[in-house]
Amino acid sequence: MDLPWIVLFTPLVSAFLIGVFTKRLHNISAGISILAVLISLGASIGVFLQPDAAAGSLSLPWLSAGDFQVNIGLKIDQLSKAMMLIVTIVGTLVHLYSYAYMAGDEGKGRFFGGLSLFMFSMLGIVFADNFVMMFIFWELVGVSSFLLIGHWYYRNAPPAAANKAFLANRIGDFGFMFGILLIWVTTGSIHFSGIAENLGKLGAHSTLATVAALLIFCGAVGKSAQFPLHVWLPDAMEGPTPVSALIHAATMVAAGVYMLARVFFILEIAPDALTVIMWIGAITALLSALIATQQNDIKKVLAYSTLSQLGYMVMAIGLVAKDAAMFHLITHAFFKALLFLGSGAVIYACHHEQNIWKMGGLKKLPFTTLTFLIGTLALMGFPYLSGFFSKDAILIAAYHHSQPVFWIGLGAAFLTAFYMTRLFVVVFLGKERSHEAEKAHEVPVLMWLPLVLLAIPSAIAGYDFFIKHFLTLAPHEASKVPIIATAAAGLGIVAGGLLYWGRRSDPMYLEPLAKKFYFDEFYAFLIRNTQDLLARLSAFLDRWVIGLTVRLVSGGTWGAGFLLRCFQVGNLQGYALLFGAGVVALFYFVIFQ
């Protein structure tokens, strides 16, 4: 069997075994899952080292209706190899981390089954060579996310959050499906290669192309939590922290960006759509950065930070800089997973306390602090760490393409530095603000080792010697953009430090930001009223349209019966009269007609 198939299907086998046989046997399930992901990692390194041409495209027939053929095909090219490695590397580290983090959880077996299912689904998206296959795995990823967010299903919040995630995704997928259908109908193919051949039928710069591109983008809006469907990601933090690290930071939410990069050749011919994409990315980046400055739960801050960085990636796609977007995706996967796992370590050390104002003084955890610092600096775009290179690649593209978007990106960079400084200062520096923080001590090795292993690429992933294996980037041009960006970040660090050093509580309270710009309340209002309206409409239809028809029929029958009953007088003479009348009528008809 070829290596790519091993990469893809080992986690599926693991998920199946765990789901069917070993769900109750926690350590065995964990073992199966970890073994599967290690095999997958090994195979993916093997695939990476193989040249593209040899791997090419492999295909299993899946669906065949007349001359419509859908295959489970694996596309192995530079893009998918890069993404595959990210998914397997981060996945392996999260699996190892989870063994320690989820120790003692009653659903540990179920958790690892979910993780394996997710690995399978995500790799399916990475390898997909046609839209239908991608859509199938797209939905599967949504299912895995649902299962993992709602892992602690017996509590109130997780199932609601899981529902919210799935529904928001579904809304996006609705548009996505229409886009796929539109492209299929126009170009006659759902395979990426076939679509590329027939791209002329969509027509460059045509309305059709723009509509198709925007509909496809809907899928990314849902999956990558762009405005206005961003509301599910912060709630998804109800899931265990390893899940947040793997799915809602590094991989699944990046799937939207990956998809856009994959079908960039379709987006290229619709510049209007690209403008829309750019603006939505920019809005998302700025909006979530603003909200993050006022959040008090460590995971929520990181969630909004993820939203902001995803906004950057989408913005980059809109700026026709898909390599910059993928670059940022790769570096982000490393440092965001690092940050989330680090926050998990902090939460674990503080006995599941997540409020940053109840932490403080945690610099006594050496590994956690140092790696978290590296992750923070990478995220802010501190010079010469990985985030610096990728973020600046995007900002340079913005500077040349659209000045307003550049300033928005810069503003988001300033805010990123601000709220991350706030987070670091409040959580790690100063004095302990609670009993749990005082008792905190460093986490087990199985938890800090992944942190260290992630810190290394977070630092060096930006350099040519590393990244040239994954992407082909445009050559560096001297520009003053990196200096401006670093200045913005520096300003943010200074502002955050000044405002939050040595504080016991937040000195600033900006209600709209703290209340996430009231998006949730607005959506609840919208849904409540549309549902109300729909309910009334249905009641009306049921009562007066369908009900009237039924009542007419029944009333008519009753009326006819009533009339006929008048003939049954029981009176002999009445019957005789009717008899006579009938004879007369008969005579009339016989004689005179």
Binding site: Q568, L572, Q573
Partner: protein, 102 residues
């Protein structure tokens, strides 16, 4: 000259009177008398047709004999029924015997 039409008219009037009596009288025995009158009207029209027909068969006359006989038998049976009904219901008013009312 008395024509066929005159006889038929009289016969029709007899029939109508008899039918009206059946419909409008409440006493069973009087209803029965109306019934008899209807039969006799039919007899009259039969005899008239037979008299004015040019065939020598006189079929109508023959049929009238049969009808009178059958009427007599029917009256016997009918009166027997009325007597039985009177014994059961103690009334001859037809409105009180409306057992067929739904």
């Amino acid at each position: 000259m008395v024509t066929l039409n005159d006889y038929l008219l009289v016969s029709g009037l007899f029939f109508a009177l008899g039918f009206a009596g059946v419909l409008m009288r409440r006493n069973l025995i009087v209803m029965f008398m109306g019934l008899e009158m209807m039969l006799n009207a039919a007899n009259l029209s039969l005899v008239a047709f037979s008299r004015f027909s040019h065939s020598g068969a006189a079929a109508g006359h023959m049929l009238v004999f049969f009808i009178i006989t059958v009427a007599a038998a029917e009256v016997a049976v009918g009166l027997a029924i009325i007597v039985a009904l009177y014994r059961a219901k103690q009334t001859t008013h037809v409105e009180d015997i409306a057992k067929l009312r739904s």
